[in-house]
Symmetry: C2
């Protein structure tokens, strides 16, 4: 694969933007603003179900745009946390007193770690960086390495031993994990929570759980039900991944009502926008849920087919994933930054170079599942890039 | 004024909602959802410039709805704090490193008090309740009473003496103050900040500053320029009051760059929605600013005329205000809850009974300035309610 000097310039510009963005990939709008000559046709960094985005957009068009109601949603104060929690409680089948609504899941991660973590936190790596970036001064971070040689699978007994030895007050489990896509079965979660009932805060982040499944069933799985029995459990969830509404900022957590009270008594007044409130009301509507369930299952099935297709390509290894992205490792000697540069500049496909992820040594790229058509383009682009090999003009940081 | 039994029932329902809402009045959408038979025609609890809301709505209609761009604003991750700060820095004429963008001003109040207040905070009363509600455990709160007999005016020398005696690490000044509307001249602010340069955090909340003025000029006033010289100054501002966009959640603060860094290093990732980012980009546009300036000055002038008309009514005293609301005291023996009930049930005008405000003993009501036509209705309704007097079916809590 040869690049023209124009293409090399584009690669250089992207590299600069990546460096500025730190541990998160620069957004597609930032990239297209700064590098207008770049044509991103498939955003395979963006983790969302595009069919659910369509469903939500159509419904919002009808409810807010055509009716002219959008103005009032933006003009007036949204309801406070407890009001939205009440709506959601029917759908989640947990008491409203146990629900905390967040301005995106990142607000909840920050709220929980800043308010309830006092001494020591154990975080699996590779992971989603805010879990260690948000840790306050004075709190010790212990990393539990998920091993390359074990396919980044979570080892239950070894984990429990580590926790018993380290005696932390907070644990974080992302299930399925980001960026590995590894899934911990609910039976294992239940076993673990039973064994570790003495830990103050067990955070289970189910932001990608709508794309997971157990056995042959595509029914929704979730550890939410365990919050009834275990007061130390903090189950949290972003809604951006399911619905592709990252711009609305919507997430929730289910936790002990004393924790919810602690948070609400000392802040988080009007932390939701009018559109987030609209979203949660819609999401809690059983009729809308039925329609969502169809697009969820469709996307889940297509996503697994996509991963299987990628896994057939020679030159990469696709790790088993129950999320809506797949971690791939380049096995043909190619560099990850070269692969992502080739995908982007030659094919307009934006993928995530994972070299900034701590605990992930090697040439790894995270690829999101998009629509059926886009997924086909991603597979063809990857096939082409893998065939032509290194160019020496990677995107990676030095 | 006699009430029918139907009207008495409505009053009862409103009283229950007010009790549930705590220290903030229930939102108009909550009220109309729970009491559909109530017809609120003028929301004089809601603090915003309705002409600016019209201007913003028309612009958004063109930029996002007609163009179909709304979907991408909601779908993709908004820019991070520093990107939006860079836009705003040109308009504010302060370095971007000193700007923190918040999900509404309440998020900023929480961020600053939770992160930078360690020992003792001095708060003027009566005030906006989050300033004391958000104070963390272990921090002492000292109230500086603004005296009824002095028209709730801020006494500069007495305040400085109190601060020197109490030795707090944080001060809060809302300018103009809520709910009194009292304004501290910029020269006095500058004098005060010079004298109290040794206090760690001086918070100046300018959420209502767009409705203030000095002398005969209607030019925008602000203490923002003082942040250049004084590292301890935290200037914060809600945008909801100026633009009537409470549902978007948009606020900002200007403070020392080390404080901004402290906040951003440990959280506040993606705390803005896509619409908040759109709003700040628009607000930073000089051409839009020119159009906004016209509706700001129009509203400011109408607001002062409205306050003058209210002040002429017999049976109440209107305190001088440079905000977009006026604090009125009933002087004819009428109870505040009776007044607000009469205004709402008989005239469809929703006003704010202030009896839950600490440091405000007596029969006080806060009335917001709305459009020219609505303000006329408010004056006429008040005249009628004041004439008919007490009914005994007040809205107040027991």
């Amino acid at each position: 694969m040869r690049m023209s000097s124009k293409e090399q310039e584009i690669v250089q510009s992207i590299q600069e933007l990546s460096d500025q963005a730190g541990t998160h990939s620069p957004s597609i709008s930032t990239i297209t603003e700064k590098i207008p000559e770049l044509n991103i046709e498939v955003d395979a960094c963006f983790l969302s179900n595009p069919y659910a985005t369509d469903l939500f957009s159509r419904q919002m068009q009808e409810d807010l745009i055509q009716s002219g109601r959008l103005r009032e949603v933006l003009e007036f104060y949204p309801s406070q946390n407890q009001v939205v929690a009440e709506n959601l409680s029917h759908f989640l089948e947990v008491p409203k007193e146990k629900i905390f609504i967040g301005n995106g899941a990142t607000e909840i991660i920050q709220a929980v770690i800043h308010n309830f973590t006092r001494r020591k936190i154990v975080i699996n790596i590779p992971t989603f960086s805010p879990y260690y970036e948000f840790v306050p001064e004075g709190v010790e971070v212990v990393y539990n390495q998920l091993y390359h040689g074990e396919g980044f699978q979570f080892n239950l007994e070894r984990y429990i031993e580590l926790i018993e030895r380290e005696n932390p007050d907070t644990l974080v489990l992302i299930n399925p994990n980001n960026p590995s896509g590894c899934y911990i079965e609910l039976a294992d979660i239940e076993y673990l929570v039973n064994r570790l009932h003495w830990v103050d805060n067990i955070i289970i982040d189910e932001s990608f759980i709508h794309f997971a499944f157990e056995g042959q069933s595509t029914d929704l799985v979730s550890a939410t039900y365990l919050t009834e029995k275990f007061e130390n459990l903090v189950l949290m969830k972003s809604m951006s991944k399911d619905f592709g509404i990252a711009g609305i900022r919507a997430g929730y957590a289910v936790m002990d009502e004393n924790k919810v009270n602690d948070l609400l008594e000392n802040g988080y007044l009007w932390n939701l926008s009018g559109l987030a409130e609209y979203f949660f009301r819609l999401y809690s509507n059983p009729e809308f849920q039925k329609r969502y369930e169809k697009v969820r299952v469709r996307y889940l099935n297509e996503t697994q087919q996509f991963f299987a297709e990628l896994g057939k390509l020679s030159g990469l290894k696709a790790y088993p994933s129950k999320a809506n992205f797949v971690l791939v490792e380049l096995t043909n000697g190619m560099k990850a930054d070269d692969f992502t540069a080739g995908m982007l500049v030659k094919h307009g496909v934006y993928t995530r170079d994972c070299r900034d992820k701590i605990g992930l040594e090697g040439e790894f790229v995270r690829i999101a599942s998009r629509s059926w058509e886009e997924n086909k383009r991603i597979v063809n682009a990857a096939k082409d890039v893998l065939r032509t090999g290194n160019t020496g003009f990677g995107l990676g940081r030095n």
